[in-house]
Symmetry: C2
Subunit: 331 residues, 2 copies
DNA sequence: ATGGGGTGAGAGAGCGCTCTCTCAAGAGAT
DNA sequence: ATCTCTTGAGAGAGCGCTCTCTCACCCCAT
């Protein structure tokens, strides 16, 4: 026994298929009593429109691809913001009655699949989460005739509207806080330099140090705890007298705290630490982490709004959200 | 200019639409030269099959709903396993050429939407992640005529095959480890008792204590760090002489460690701590956490295989994966 | 030369829906 | 009483694809 069709609903309600369709799609040109008869038939039969048939004729799919273009290992590994961004975007999209198709583009093969899928018109729009400079996907997708928005400024200049947080300003605020605390040997653990967030946060650090006539001491990590721990050991070797470190994300800061502890440095007495992201774990480090909060949830929501407005032919202006310094005990 | 259709491909290759369709779908009853001609036409036109039209006739969609039935705040908040499970499932499904439709069912309204969507035949199957006893979704979905598999044993007995890890055995191993270390006042911070994982891990704790003739001391949390910290304070108040605590997940263990630190207890000297899950953060606590590892990635992959085998009419036996005690410094 | 079997390709009917076009019926204007 | 206009509902043409049926053709056995 197959699912009831619009035809069946129409038959039961004693009207034509066209009228039943009008009721389903909420058109107003249907007399109230007929409308009720159709609604009753729908209810009795448990009718649900067949979306394949519908999108075949409307050329819309009411679904949005959420493309995460990152090596699988890093994504999700346990950086919470990916998950938060996905959740927030999902909630907002469901609010707008769009389905979310999740696509992971972790390598060349899956890149090709994603491109083919998008080109195939399976979705009405694309939300792209890609933080890597070398990623070919943003430019590839921007060539397709599909609305695309990006979470985070695309590394290569490409005509895709995006939503990002103020990495530069946030980093400046964090480092300035260290300067104001009287710290003079301020190092940084930078993020990967093929990522915009990595670049911008390092640039913010450099700018403040230059303005304060302080020497910069840089180690580079890849945003994982492990890399933060390694980078911190390296910095301590390079300059044992450092008295502060600005870490480009909280996960690396957690690793850095561990290295500092193992090296016998007290935080913040000997070395002050500022992180970036304000993940939940930042409250539970020893000591709790001073860090820069940026609104992941709002950023994802703003991205959804941007995409929806694109559908309406609205403006495609990038959105930059502010960051906020959260002072705890580490600095 | 719209997308090329099969008709266009057929015309360019000088064959009928049916033959072009045969080539696209890899049927073997096409002569090699004609096949090549069609493939060339496809390539030249950049043809991509219209999935709506295809699934209209095949009655398949090649997509799978990944339904996460949890209050939004808890999901993803920063428990990494949700994200890991999603990633792993996605990778496996993409391998099998299925699309992943992500659906969040956080409240009654979204439950209804999910049910409607599934009932609407938009997907070929459902992977359900639901850890709550009171959740009506498992039974609701099991009534629909759609293959459903569950991540984690459904709380209400319902005819859905599932994949789970050995919560009971894992908890037993963890508590037994504490007993073997000579601990005698062993408390537990249990998980929420409306969740199977919470129940089973508590049951494992109880069983070992009973077998060892020790008294149980129980506080209940909700699997968040915060609740772990609160529960630990409470346990210390209830019985200041406790010398070990088995915590039902690592996130709560992190909170418990913080409370122990604030209370001036040394870990593991004064109080030994065992967690559960072996999240990445467990390596970075002070001291690093002894915990029970369970294979989230494999579990998700097994769930996908289970669903795919269901499509083939294969067996629907639940799968239980083992856990492993990882000994670090906290116990 | 005839018939049977196998192979490769085309014709055409739908899958379930939307939407334009058409038309009937009744209200109001002349 | 006739005509125009509005409103409500039906007819029917597709959307792009798959798949069954049908048939043309060639090879080999008789």
């Amino acid at each position: 026994m197959r699912r009831p069709t619009l035809e069946a609903v129409a038959a039961r309600a004693g009207v034509s298929r066209a009228t039943a369709s009008r009721v389903v799609n909420g058109q107003t040109t249907v007399a109230p009593d007929i409308r009720d008869a159709v609604l009753r038939a729908i209810d009795e039969l448990g009718y649900v429109p067949n979306s394949a048939a519908r999108s075949l004729v409307t050329q819309r799919t009411d679904s949005i691809a959420l493309v995460i273009s990152e090596p699988g290992t890093r994504v999700f590994s346990d950086d919470p913001w990916f998950a938060m961004a996905i959740r927030s975007a999902s909630v907002e999209l469901e609010e707008a009655n769009k389905q979310v198709v999740l696509m992971l583009a972790s390598n060349a093969k899956s890149h090709a699949r994603v491109e083919r899928y998008i080109a195939g018109g399976h979705v009405d729009g694309v939300m792209l989460i890609s933080m890597h400079g070398a990623d070919p996907l943003p430019s590839a997708l921007s060539r397709l005739r599909v609305p695309v928005v990006s979470y985070g400024r695309p590394a290569v200049p490409v005509n895709i509207p995006y939503v990002d947080n103020d990495n530069l300003g946030g980093a400046e605020a964090g480092v300035r806080h260290l300067v104001e605390q009287g710290r003079r040997r301020i190092a940084t653990i930078a993020g990967p330099q093929d990522m915009i967030a990595g670049q911008d946060r390092l640039a913010g650090y450099r700018k403040v140090l230059r303005d304060s006539d302080l020497r910069s001491i840089v180690a580079v990590g890849d945003f994982t705890r492990e890399s933060g721990a390694i980078a911190m050991r390296q910095l301590l070797g390079d300059d044992p007298s450092l008295d502060a470190v600005f870490v480009a994300n909280d996960l690396m800061a957690v690793g850095a705290l561990q290295s500092l502890r193992l090296a016998g440095r007290r935080v913040p007495d000997d070395v002050a630490v500022v992180g970036f992201d304000d993940i939940e774990a930042a409250k539970y480090t020893e000591p709790p982490l001073t860090t820069l909060r940026h609104p992941v949830i709002e950023q994802a929501a703003a991205m959804v709004r941007l995409l929806l407005s694109l559908f309406e032919g609205g403006p495609a202006e990038p959105v930059i959200l502010p960051t906020e310094l959260v002072i705890r005990e580490s600095a």
